[in-house]
Symmetry: C2
Subunit: 478 residues, 2 copies
């Protein structure tokens, strides 16, 4: 045991340290298995004070730190470099709910709490924490905040950034910044909170957060809808705002290709409709107003049914199934949420997590699909995403039977073709997944010099030794 390791152990104890290779392995590779890193140790502090002490030790020993939450990221942001000179600092032992304030509509949590636990805790208190995404059973809130996660309810509640009031952060100096404020208004200097949110652990380590809660919805309507085109999906959403009285909480678009992969790979999946269609929308409306009995009161489900009936007459809807109970709604959601998992089981794929303004989705979709096919005619596009916020997962599955190296030889050309269109549409090359290590070059290519210079100046000012997740988001060597 080296001197450094014994000092680590003095801080976090035996339980807080993983040194053997099989034990370290799950922390050294990402969910998509794109990267395999190495680390001196996996360190799992149990308190903020332990995190701060580990950081101070790492400063003294000049060892870089890769903060890690649930390790469900798509961009390799939580995976160490292969040289093995870093430590992985996992927050997964800091998993306590510190406080639930039902009157103030806030919940204070440690960074390592799994998102699903937060959702369930809120529900037990008749409250809602609206962040919801496919990885919710294993991702942690610290990772969600460090990547400013999006998910399926952004159009109504906003990104992770909008769901937070305060943070506690261990800085690159090993100091604890107590920004755990539960205030709706606070104009006292620079907005450090929003700087740490989405910084992917490169400016400090989020250790606690004060989250916002909402009233729990009492009436939810969910439907699985076949639509003729992305244009129809956008028009369907546009009308839904008024028809639902501003209660649209999700509007997800999927192509048949992705649904087919789910039906094929996920046991128990079933197509809710009898015929095959090219495009589907999963539409959900939620209201905090309970459904009441009485002739003059209509619930959301009846309103949605009436709206879809009108939309069918206008040709915006081809067929639709309305969930009659929670189990059906869950089955519809599983078809959407299992897209990534079934893409993984099918084989190699490239992901493009892009956004354009909502009204440009149809034109972008058409141009983007053509461009991908032009680069590699055999490729299988799997586009899906969040219509309400312009964020598309514009993914591309390898041709059937191709292995990863053969497909990846085309990855750069396919991605460049897609991103060039995105930029032309004024869009973003990373809408919700962040940059990690995967998109460092793309960010440098597509963003202006002054923007990159400003980001680098901030990074250098706050982390002068470059010990916090180095090489992620920005390449400082230029």
């Amino acid at each position: 045991m080296t001197d450094f390791i014994s000092k680590l152990q003095a801080i976090v104890g035996e339980r807080g340290l993983i040194l053997d290779e099989p034990g370290k392995h799950p922390y050294l590779t990402d969910w998509r298995e794109n990267y395999l890193g190495a680390a001196l140790a996996v360190v799992r502090p149990a308190t903020t004070e332990e995190v701060a002490a580990v950081v101070k030790l790492c400063i003294a020993e000049k060892v870089a730190i890769v903060p890690q939450g649930g390790n469900t990221g798509m961009m390799g942001g939580g995976t160490p470099h292969p040289q093995g000179r870093e430590i992985v600092l996992s927050l997964n032992r800091m998993n306590r709910i510190v406080e639930v304030d039902t009157i103030g509509y806030t919940m204070t949590v440690e960074a390592g709490v799994v998102l699903k636990i937060i959702q369930e805790t809120a529900a037990q208190h008749d409250r809602l924490f609206p962040l919801s995404l496919a990885a919710e059973g294993s991702c942690t809130i610290g990772g969600n905040l460090s990547t400013n996660a999006g998910g399926v309810q952004v159009l109504h509640y906003g990104n992770a950034r909008q769901l937070v009031l305060g943070l506690e952060v261990v800085t690159p100096q090993g100091e604890v910044w107590n920004g755990l404020r539960a205030l709706k208004k606070d104009n006292t200097g620079y907005d450090l909170r929003d700087l740490y949110l989405g910084a992917e652990g490169t400016l400090g380590i989020i250790t606690k957060a004060v989250l916002k809660l909402w009233p729990k919805p009492k009436d939810i309507a969910t439907s699985w809808i076949a639509v003729p085109s992305p244009e129809a999906a956008v028009a369907l959403l546009s009308g839904a705002h008024a028809a639902s009285e501003d209660n649209v909480t999700s509007c997800e678009l999927m192509a048949r290709q992705g649904v087919d992969l789910v039906l094929q790979h996920i046991p128990g999946s079933a197509d809710p409709l009898s015929e095959r269609h090219d495009w589907y929308v999963l539409l959900e409306w939620s209201s905090t107003r309970p459904r009441r009995a009485g002739a003059n009161e209509t619930g959301l489900l009846e309103k949605m049914e009436a709206y879809l009936g009108e939309a069918m007459e206008q040709g915006l809807v081809l067929d639709a199934a309305l969930a009659q109970n929670e189990a059906q709604a869950k089955a519809f959601w599983a078809l959407r949420e299992n897209h990534s998992e079934s893409q993984k089981r099918e084989g190699p794929s490239i992901k493009h997590d892009i956004s354009v303004s909502v009204s440009k989705i149809p034109a972008f979709m058409s141009e983007g699909l053509t461009a991908m096919k032009k680069v590699l005619p055999e490729c299988r596009p799997v586009p899906f995403g969040h219509v309400g916020d312009g964020n598309l997962h514009f993914n591309c599955q390898a041709p059937a039977g191709w292995d990863k190296p053969r497909f990846m030889a085309h990855a750069h050309d396919i991605s460049t073709a897609v991103y060039d269109i995105v930029v032309r549409y004024g869009g973003s090359i990373s809408a919700e997944h962040g940059i990690g290590q995967m998109k460092v070059e793309e960010l440098a290519h597509y963003r202006s010099k002054i923007e990159l210079d400003t980001m680098r100046a901030i990074k250098r000012a706050l982390d002068p030794q470059n010990l916090m997740n180095p090489g992620k988001i920005l390449d400082l060597s230029v």
Copy 2:
């Protein structure tokens, strides 16, 4: 004409330069007349390129810049120092509406557009820009964004920060950062937008913004309500969320003292109620759903009337007047919006723009009023504010007949007494007005060393020559 001045004139032309003392005067003092500064020149560029050129010249000549919008700030943030070695850079000639996108619900504007013009332009397009505050007839959007303004609709729509999608900023290097993105999701590196927002011109000059728009409300109900106490006001708001079906857009609390000042100083003001009461609430509900005819449909006004009737039975309401038309609603609003103006006309006052969590308002109010009276028994507290977001203007009027120097001798003690309580309640010493030059010492006193060090590191990294509004927010000499 010095060499520097002729170079300035070469950039902005004669129309863009004010050199004579009477012409400069309005730019050298703040609205509250707490500060009188001096400046080499008042420079009024007409384009972003001119702003950038002025900044580059100032870098070369080592002249500091005080950016200024409508000059309605409360904290002296836009007023130059008295030494006269700075220039005031006014954005008031950059007052063009660049684009209104009704489908995408955005408006792109130059920084110098007056807030009221933005509100009116949105309304002409059947849209709402919800930022609304007393100074809206003369404040400009650049100043609103640089101070992260709050106002009377924050509880429903959020602070200025939440109303912006993208920014254009001239950096301290004189470069133009084009962050004019109209995207709801964009996770590509550090959140520069939120760093510039609320930075009070110390990190760069906001020159353009992409603002978010909302549907225009079609049904608005406004009432002027006498309540027995701040406790009752908080309880009244708490019940109003459900009763209005989440349509509460404003909930303003006022003490009789402030209303008396308005009635006394503002011609045409009238008390909507026949008897005197100690506390008032201005409550407004808005919905995008038009009021429809028909027996089964009730508008917001009827719902509000029913709710206030119930609240009266519970003792939460003593008396109430419901606005029967827009003119009456405007008259109610004038009683609230003229608080600052009538305080100014009455004589010297101290302002405390504080926030606590909503549920703590009553306890804070009671403790704070006692503390002010203890320091100076003759003082006249004028508390009012935004119940829905915990932000109180916990102001204090000088005793009748006292002049400014006599009153100001007690200002420090009164403020310290108030802020100490705020901090004990976990609150903010500047909820919406910012820091400017007035609260630099307080910020340094009440915030942690690591927070101040982090802010200073950012400032030094982005503005190494300290030319952007030096001495505001932070004292860099420590």
